[in-house]
């Protein structure tokens, strides 16, 4: 493994790669710092930019975007009490009171250092655990894959949003949409209406950018139309009394950092559990473990450390199921799967043997990205503060144009643009009616894998479902699926 990692560093340590990582982190922080956007929007909008790149800089760039986007959300949370991303909401609880008492820069430094440390711990866990995970996954046949996917769907529906049934509907609707195009076994057309554009199925980029990024922008535009005063950020912070954060002081909170990074990594490893959950779990655990729990919510830096270390630790760990099983840990990982596929790399246990060079170069890029993240994040603190204060009326319109250009660039097809517009409308309806859009996208992304493994299982075992009892792995995951669904049934 160490040898592979050294080879990975050799492949990744190029000026071009480092520049792409730096660009990705900068763009990620800028987009993450804009309230309402975040790493998912950043990834969705920027994936098309990588079409023309070779796989290593492309994936490294996107990993940089994800890292930057996740930590960037803390900036408006601290400065404006308006989290850039949902996972940064807990950072606002202690970050904003710190900013109000003149410690905004110190709070942002706490957020940045925690984010980078949590991320680094999680990256090491990824590097050490992915091979054993993939080795287990190699024992999986179609039956086991079907049960793992069903478990991932149940888990995703159970915890995303307030209503599991809405999550399940969104997932199976996404899976249904994935069946449009040529049949994976017979290559006969299904629901294509003889339209050549649909033979390869609905375009992933159009669907993902439309339903995730553009729908979110539209929601904010309509909200601003109803309440234009949100456009002005009136929060004026007091003159900064204390900007300094000695590194020794930061690491004096090592227990909180370690606990939060492990919570974030644990959550990241399980498919479907979100970054937001990791942030709040970690915040709660830190508060519980503290000698002075009443100081939380009033400007205790441990609140920022707990949130930022945990939510950034999800970034690396969620690549464990992504690489080992091909099942994304969360929506950002789902988008990264899309990017892998675009670059000819099929995620799953064979990824390490077939594309080991790219994967270890990716690991090396992730470790280097943490140092670059630290440098860019630290130097750019005054700039990010300006970005976070830019009125949304100036920020949102160009993002719409970026969505249009992002979808048009790869295929130069107005059809793809049409798909994006349709799914932006659908995403808007889903958001307004409380259906989780994330479930739709993950269902669409994993739908063809579920279909293939289910049909292979049926053909292999001649539709004899009792065979499940001969596979302990499949049986175990199906029992877990039933447990999750039964628990969810009480809050339909």
């Amino acid at each position: 493994m160490i040898e592979n990692l050294i080879l990975g560093f050799e492949a990744a340590l190029t000026l071009t790669n480092l520049l792409f990582i730096a660009a990705g982190i900068t763009l990620g922080i800028v987009i993450g710092a804009i309230p309402g956007l975040g790493s998912v929007t950043a990834l969705a909008v920027l994936i098309p930019v990588t079409y023309y790149m070779s796989p290593i800089p492309a994936i490294a760039f996107l990993v940089g975007v994800n890292k930057g986007g996740t930590s960037g959300g803390a900036i408006p949370a601290i400065l404006l009490n308006s989290p850039g991303t949902p996972e940064a909401a807990a950072s606002a609880l202690d970050g904003y009171p710190m900013a109000k008492r003149g410690e905004a820069t110190r709070a942002m430094k706490f957020a940045l250092y925690s984010s980078v440390t949590g991320d680094t711990i999680s990256d090491f866990l990824l590097i050490f655990l992915v091979v054993p995970f993939a080795a287990i996954a190699l024992q999986f046949g179609p039956l086991e894959y079907t049960s793992v996917l069903l478990f991932a769907f149940a888990l995703l529906a159970g915890i995303s949003g307030d209503s599991p049934i809405k999550g399940l509907i969104a997932i199976f609707f996404g899976v249904f949409l994935s069946t449009i195009g040529l049949d994976p076994v017979d290559s006969t057309s299904r629901m294509t209406f003889d339209n050549v554009n649909l033979f390869d199925g609905l375009p992933l980029i159009g669907l993902a950018i439309g339903s995730l990024a553009l729908a979110s922008i539209l929601e904010q535009i309509f909200d601003l139309y109803r309440n234009p005063t949100e456009n002005q950020h009136s929060a004026e912070l007091t003159a900064q009394a204390n900007k300094k954060l000695p590194i020794r002081e930061f690491f004096s909170h090592w227990k909180t950092i370690g606990r939060s990074a492990l919570i974030g990594s644990g959550v990241g490893m399980l498919p479907g559990l979100g970054v937001t959950l990791a942030a709040f779990l970690s915040y709660g655990a830190t508060r519980k473990a503290s000698n002075d729990p009443n100081s939380f919510g009033k400007g205790n830096p441990q609140g920022i450390i707990a949130t930022e270390a945990a939510n950034s630790a999800v970034v690396g760990a969620n690549l464990i199921p992504t690489i080992a099983l091909g099942v994304p840990g969360n929506i950002a990982a789902a988008l990264l799967i899309g990017a892998f596929i675009i670059h000819g790399i099929v995620p799953g246990p064979f990824m390490l043997t077939m594309h080991g060079d790219v994967i270890y170069a990716l690991f090396a890029s992730m470790l280097m990205a943490n140092f670059i993240h630290l440098a860019i994040g630290r130097i750019g603190i005054p700039v990010w503060a300006m970005v976070a204060r830019t009125p949304k009326g100036l920020v949102l319109p160009p993002v719409i144009i970026m969505c249009i250009v992002g979808v048009y660039l790869p295929g130069q097809s107005l059809f793809d643009l049409g798909v994006m517009f349709v799914f932006a409308g659908l995403g808007l309806i889903m958001k307004r009616t409380g259906f989780p859009v994330v479930c739709l996208v993950i269902g669409f992304l994993l739908g063809s894998m579920l279909e293939t493994s289910l049909r292979q299982s049926m053909l292999l075992y001649k539709s004899d479902f009792w065979i499940i009892f001969e596979s302990p792995i499949a049986l175990g995951f199906l029992i877990l699926t039933l447990v999750v669904l039964l628990k969810a049934a009480f809050k339909l």
């Binding site: 049934i165 199976f172 249904f176 139309y225 456009n231 160009p398 049409g418 517009f421």
Partner: protein, 153 residues
């Protein structure tokens, strides 16, 4: 946010719409737009779409019954008419953009979109918006050609 009664009504409407869509898929869309299996031993290409559409139908009906019979915490953000008005506005805007791009070109469309959306959000410094719209649109068009050699419409 809306009151819980309106939220439940919105969710009932959504469940109805989903049920209707699933029935449409099961009884017209899939049977008329998929080919039969090549041999009796094969699994029909329609099997999996039918299975997923069937699951959507079942879950929509469960959701409908749950909303009609039990006091559930509805999570809809807006009432049905408000959502409908947003969708109608978006349909109009997206159709206009889709037709404008090949007819009048990327730069004028982009400038119009940036200015109109900016004004719709309540941003009042129109000269800042106008200057940004022009500069941004020209830069993106130029960048797409220089970096990706793609000529935007």
């Amino acid at each position: 946010m809306i009151d819980s009664r309106s939220a439940v009504r919105t969710e009932i409407a959504a469940a109805f719409a989903l049920t209707a869509a699933a029935l449409f898929a099961l009884f017209w869309l899939i049977p008329n737009n998929t080919e039969p299996a090549r041999s009796e031993l094969d699994i029909s290409p329609a099997f999996f779409p039918m299975l997923t559409a069937g699951l959507v139908l079942f879950l929509s009906l469960v959701m409908l019954v749950a909303r009609l019979t039990r006091a559930v915490v509805a999570t809809a953000e807006l009432s049905g008419p408000a959502i409908l008005s947003e969708v109608v506005v978006w349909c109009g805007a997206s159709v206009a953009i889709w037709f404008a791009l090949p007819v009048i070109g990327f730069i004028p469309t982009s400038i119009a979109v940036v200015i109109l959306v900016g004004l719709a959000t309540g941003y009042q410094k129109w000269w800042v918006l106008g200057a940004m719209a022009i500069l941004f649109s020209i830069t993106v068009d130029f960048g797409a050609w220089q970096v990706f050699t793609v000529d935007l419409p």
